[in-house]
């Protein structure tokens, strides 16, 4: 296994970025991530991105965004129609194949031109479910109802998760929801979709992020304290909601096992839980101890949810805390699909 580390990270998240196209706001981020380690596109052995045309309603938006990398002379490049965390996974595999020691990864989404919760209905089964247009909030509300009725979680516990995110988000300049609220204030909120309250929902944002990966000695040259990827795995649950147990996450549990989360202490965990319910399930599935592990020190997706980037941002947020010495061992998680259908877990360590 070749040692690969996250050595650079740049992000931007705002409630909406109406004046700029995706490539216009991504170019400065791409430049920033490369400049921080004094690299140019010509230094990158591989480039991989994650995005979806459905968000901004821009056909072939990912092709337009490749312009921002400076792809001349032609670059080795790939794209996933999934969160950028899966693009990072592909780049990691590419480095494991040998022959390159750097990779450039980015993910972005501009959801504000449409209604994200409706756009996400189109990822459901196209024959029996999608025609009913269950938006992403409604589907999660069904899962939340199952969790509450089955005694898997309480409304107070969900409000505590929401309150914790708001406290952490206060020190994150990229958070779009960070006003503090007490648990009781959150419980007093009117339901948006019973049993979900506004604070249970993701804080939708436009934006993106860019990351540089480097292997072995190259990583040590570029970064004082590289955030080494010690384990990474991704798993998927069934697509059809009706055949899944929505009160737990089998695929997240498996991914965490195979990534080696439990092999040592975990100082901090950045979890891509779009809803308070998903964060609750993930803490259980990853086997995290909330007394020993700081959960979502950035505030997570409850503080800023940028579709197609929030998972990759979790990896960047975890890595930056390794660089700074705030933690020695961190877990980053990404999800994709309805109700935590697919999950990726990445374990990062400093030397």
């Amino acid at each position: 296994m070749i040692d690969v580390a996250v050595v650079s990270f740049a992000q931007r998240q705002e409630a909406s970025i109406p004046g700029e196209s995706e490539v216009e706001f991504m170019v400065p981020l791409m430049e920033q991530a490369k400049a921080a380690v004094d690299l140019t596109q010509a230094d990158m052995g591989f480039t991989c991105s994650g995005s979806s045309d459905f968000l901004a309603g821009q056909a072939f938006s990912f092709v337009m965004t490749i312009d921002g990398t400076g792809p001349v002379p032609p670059i080795s490049e790939s794209h996933v129609e999934q969160d950028g965390a899966w693009a990072l996974y592909e780049a990691w595999v590419k480095i494991q194949c040998g022959g390159i020691d750097t990779a450039f990864v980015y993910g972005y989404g501009k959801s504000s031109p449409g209604s994200l919760r409706d756009v996400l209905a189109t990822q459901m089964d196209p024959y029996y479910v999608c025609p009913l247009w269950p938006d992403s909030y409604a589907v999660e509300a069904l899962a939340a109802r199952l969790m509450l009725e089955g005694g898997h979680v309480s409304e107070r516990r969900l409000a505590e998760i929401a309150a914790r995110s708001r406290v952490s988000a206060a020190s994150n300049p990229h958070a779009v929801r960070s006003e503090p609220k007490t648990v009781d204030e959150i419980l007093a909120e009117d339901h948006v979709l019973d049993p979900l309250r506004p604070s249970d929902l993701p804080a939708e944002a436009d934006g993106g992020c860019a990351i540089v990966l480097a292997a072995g000695d190259r990583a040590r040259e570029l970064c004082e304290r590289p955030a080494w990827i010690r384990g990474m795995d991704h798993r998927g649950d069934a697509h059809t909601l009706g055949v899944r147990d929505l009160t737990s996450s089998m695929s997240a549990r498996l991914a965490a096992q195979h990534a080696g989360v439990a092999d040592d202490k975990v100082d901090l965990a950045e979890l891509y839980g779009p809803f308070t319910t998903s964060e609750h399930l993930l803490i259980d599935a990853l086997g995290l101890d909330e007394d020993a592990t700081a959960i979502n020190p950035s505030g997570g997706a409850l503080a800023a949810h940028t579709m197609m980037a929030s998972g990759l941002i979790r990896i960047g947020e975890a890595a930056s805390r390794i660089w700074s010495g705030d933690g020695d061992r961190a877990v980053a998680h990404a999800t994709s699909g309805p109700c935590l259908q697919q999950n990726l877990v990445c374990v990062l360590e400093g030397d």
Binding site: S21, V23, P28, P131
Partner: protein
């Protein structure tokens, strides 16, 4: 029946036993599930400026700060250097035909395009890349590579913030552009970027 790809599956072809409640109802053989998403689309900084200038019959490109090339329509980024463009350049509404195609079949929902018509890749004076346009006011058979053309704008009272303000491109009658280097595009002053 196996020879007919449009025939219904065997399960639907024979007698179907249905619950009494729906007895007599016509069997459902297909359903239509319309899908529609609506967006408030914004084209971004560069294209917004380009479209606003169109309303004043002006064509804006953008210059790459690294290679000096001028791109139109502008996207806010230089696709060769991978940098934010360095500045806006106003281009002439004249240029030449770089390549073209004559279409002889109609396109659904475009009754305004009457075959045969000529669509061309037109390089504006001052631009480093071409863009698409229709060549009009000349029989398509007479269009040729290198032919000089100028924009035919819609009447002033019909101008919008739209590239459709240019109804087409007509011959200027000037001598043809001499094109002897097919790699000229993407270069400035003969140098590779």
């Amino acid at each position: 029946m196996a020879d007919d790809p449009l025939a219904p599956p065997a399960a639907l072809a024979g007698d179907v036993t249905v619950p009494p409640a729906v007895a007599g109802a016509e069997p459902v053989q297909s359903v239509c599930t319309p899908i529609r998403l609506s967006y408030t689309y914004t084209p971004g900084r560069a294209l917004s400026r380009y479209l606003q200038a169109m309303a004043g019959k002006r064509i804006l490109g953008e210059r790459c700060g690294v290679t000096g090339q001028v791109f139109v329509p502008p996207r806010g980024v230089s696709p060769l250097a991978g940098t934010t463009t360095a500045g806006v350049v106003e281009l002439a509404d004249t240029g030449y035909v770089d390549s073209f195609n004559i279409t002889r079949v109609p396109i659904e929902r475009r009754p305004d395009l009457k075959p045969p018509y000529c669509s061309a890749w037109i390089v504006l004076d001052g631009a480093s890349v071409g863009f698409m346009g229709l060549v009009i006011n000349i029989p398509p058979e007479e269009v040729r590579i290198g032919m000089r053309v100028r924009a035919v704008w819609k009447p002033d009272d019909e101008l919008e913030t739209s590239a459709a303000n240019i109804g087409g491109w007509e011959p200027t009658g000037e001598p043809d552009e001499v094109i002897d280097d097919y790699e000229r595009l993407g270069r400035v002053g003969g140098q590779q970027p």
